[in-house]
Symmetry: none
Subunit: 405 residues, 2 copies
């Protein structure tokens, strides 16, 4: 029997309230450059410390040993979907990041403005890294002139610098398709070809060819950004809904669009209108009145990890520690973790298993008085794949029945 | 998507230097008989202790929980090949152990001299455990008279006691085949039959029948070793090359032929001419000038574990600790581990997960000041399958790109 079917057969409804608090990129490493401490170790975290007494600890592998995840695979894993099984295309991630409300069947592409010579050869794949304002103006130009290709709606939205996103919406479309980006200068824009033989992908390729035919003439006088390249052309993957899978009505709270979008991909309801960490936790308290489960995403820890800013990462942890206190009386089972590590010495995402703490009435105390990477090493959860985290939350909420007699 | 394909798609080349130091059978257990210490705990290891400060620790399962590996599966696992997927026949292992330079397509058999009565019945499967010198003389006799069977070259090489190896080399051969060993006395030599219906295996069976027809008359007067039995008849398996799989040009340094042979199976270049542990590490330094990755195999720890000699195993660890210091300045990422445990109280290989330490700039300190079985228990790597070790080394060397956006 498939283990997901087993889990599903064991679902027991009750009124418990669950929360998953993701401090993005939380995990870190202790090296000589950090005084052999991690930000979690250096931070003053009275709330996390108090929680440790009714918590089980461990560390999680986001995708597979040694694999550093992007935000997409990182969050899919946390939500309990194996990132190797459920892949989210680059175009979809970018569209979510720009706050585009993707619908089932949409195909999204990441786009770069580029420079073309008179013969149509790509001379600069990033159009001299044009300013965001130029990108925005050109996107307005394109969006104003091209609203539809046949029966397919076209949505164009500017990102940062030379980057934008194109979403194709309508019936009978499918990805993935090869990039029109030739991936090096000196070549013409590549013809976009489907990666499989489906009629839907063939239709998508035709629509993209027609889109190019209309769009390139509009950019003729827009040097240096007189062309564009598409990458990661993919549809929003079909993912089993969170509520069906876990029996949990879920709300998502995040400040950045990408994380709201990723939660929405699995069917969580996104909460709008929050812009500080404290507002996020206040909104979580509110959401739990109507939902069983709330996902709260805190961005600062990742951002300062990427900057290599130890002290700022410490402050981001302390801010979250203070802000989450309002949530504690409202929740029966709480997990605190990251979607991956973003260690200060690495200045980027990494594969280092992120620490996780599950708090609840029957979690059990692992004998640790703090929540850090190294107390987590001694936890009773061990090192385990992130995709099992929600299962542990269900179990702690007594929402999984006994298996077998 | 298959995880190996994912790893391959993430390969990033750089100039980092990696080393895998295998202290064979390193892992041990603390029991009353050992004063509740392990050899690693009892040894003075100033170099390993210093490395611990920039190391992540864990323990590895060589094959599967509770499975005690031989040297073949133990090393295949370390090299990142699932030993349950890639099986190396006993004949191949024995041939490698005798230093035979196996080529793709060779079929190798482990052979025992045995005693036959007048009717051809096996009366002693080990020919009274004849002396190695008799075995060598009889192998010279056979090898002198039988150089080819049809178009197939026959290579015969004596081992210890009654043991020898026969390798069949030529076109269109394949294993595995059933043993000619009846596995108990009182039966005749079994006819060798292919284990599948391939034409190549059928040809191999015919060649072996012809080999017996020529060889047995030559041994007629060689009592008590007037017959021989073949076991583990198999070809060298097709294994994806280490360099293709990991993007690492690899050299192998070992004193014993079997370990050089196992490394060669996956395409590592073997370094010849070393005969002491210090020479091995000196050779490793030298190899890293031309190679990205070096595998160093130290035998003593296993040998003394098998002998049940605690003090000698401690000394072997101390010798390796001193010898490896020359390697440290030359290497960016270093793993130190065993291919399995050979605990002194067990006097043999065992399934106990072996300790592993990965040292590097971004490995992170697990807060342990020594490298032992019990400090490894508190490491951030947890207990994991040995086949992932090289993935962690790649990641620590920043040779794996981010997965997904």
């Amino acid at each position: 029997m498939n283990v997901d079917e087993v889990y599903k057969s064991l679902l027991v409804p009750n009124n418990s309230k669950l929360a998953l608090v993701v401090l993005d990129g939380l995990g870190d490493i202790a090296t000589e450059s950090t005084g052999f401490r991690t930000p979690l170790e250096a931070a003053r975290t009275p709330n996390l410390d108090a929680l440790a007494k009714r918590s089980t600890l461990g560390r999680m592998i986001p995708v597979a040993p040694g694999i550093t995840p992007g935000s997409g695979p990182g969050h899919l894993g946390l939500f309990g979907y194996d990132p190797l099984e459920f892949e989210v295309g680059r175009g979809v991630i970018e569209a979510l990041g720009l706050g585009i409300d993707l619908k089932q069947g949409d195909v999204a592409a990441r786009a770069n403005f580029c420079s073309l010579d008179a013969k149509g050869i790509v001379t600069d794949r990033r159009a001299g890294r044009i300013d965001t304002r130029i990108c925005e103006a050109q996107c307005v130009l394109l969006a104003g002139k091209i609203k539809k290709i046949g029966d397919i709606e076209v949505i164009i939205k500017a990102g940062k610098g030379h980057r934008f996103v194109v979403v194709f919406r309508g019936k009978g479309l499918e990805g993935p398709l090869n990039d029109s980006d030739p991936h090096r200068e000196g070549l013409p824009i590549a013809v976009v070809k489907p990666q499989n033989k489906s009629a839907k992908a063939a239709k998508m390729a035709k629509v993209i060819a027609a889109f190019y035919k209309q769009a390139l003439p509009l950019l003729k006088n827009c040097k240096p950004a007189n062309g564009f390249l598409l990458r990661g052309i993919a549809h929003q993957p079909k993912i089993p809904l969170f509520e069906d899978r876990y029996g949990l009505k879920a709300a998502a709270i995040a400040i950045y669009p990408m994380y709201k979008g990723l939660a929405q991909l699995v069917g969580m309801k996104k909460v709008e209108g929050v812009s500080t960490v404290q507002q996020e936790f206040d909104a979580a308290v509110d959401a739990l009145k109507a939902y069983d489960f709330v996902f709260v995403h805190v961005k600062g820890t990742d951002m300062y990890g990427e900057d290599g800013n130890f002290d700022a990462k410490v402050k981001a942890i302390e801010e979250a520690d203070a802000a989450l206190s309002v949530l504690l009386p409202e929740v029966d089972v709480l997990a605190i973790t990251g979607d991956h590590s973003t260690p200060v010495p690495v200045k980027g995402h990494s594969w280092h298993p992120q620490p996780v703490m599950i708090c609840g009435e029957i979690a059990g105390w692992d004998g640790q008085d703090r929540f850090t990477e190294r107390t987590a090493n001694a936890g009773s959860l061990g090192v385990f794949p992130a995709k099992y985290l929600i299962r542990y939350l269900q179990a702690n909420a007594r929402r999984l029945d006994k298996f077998g007699a």
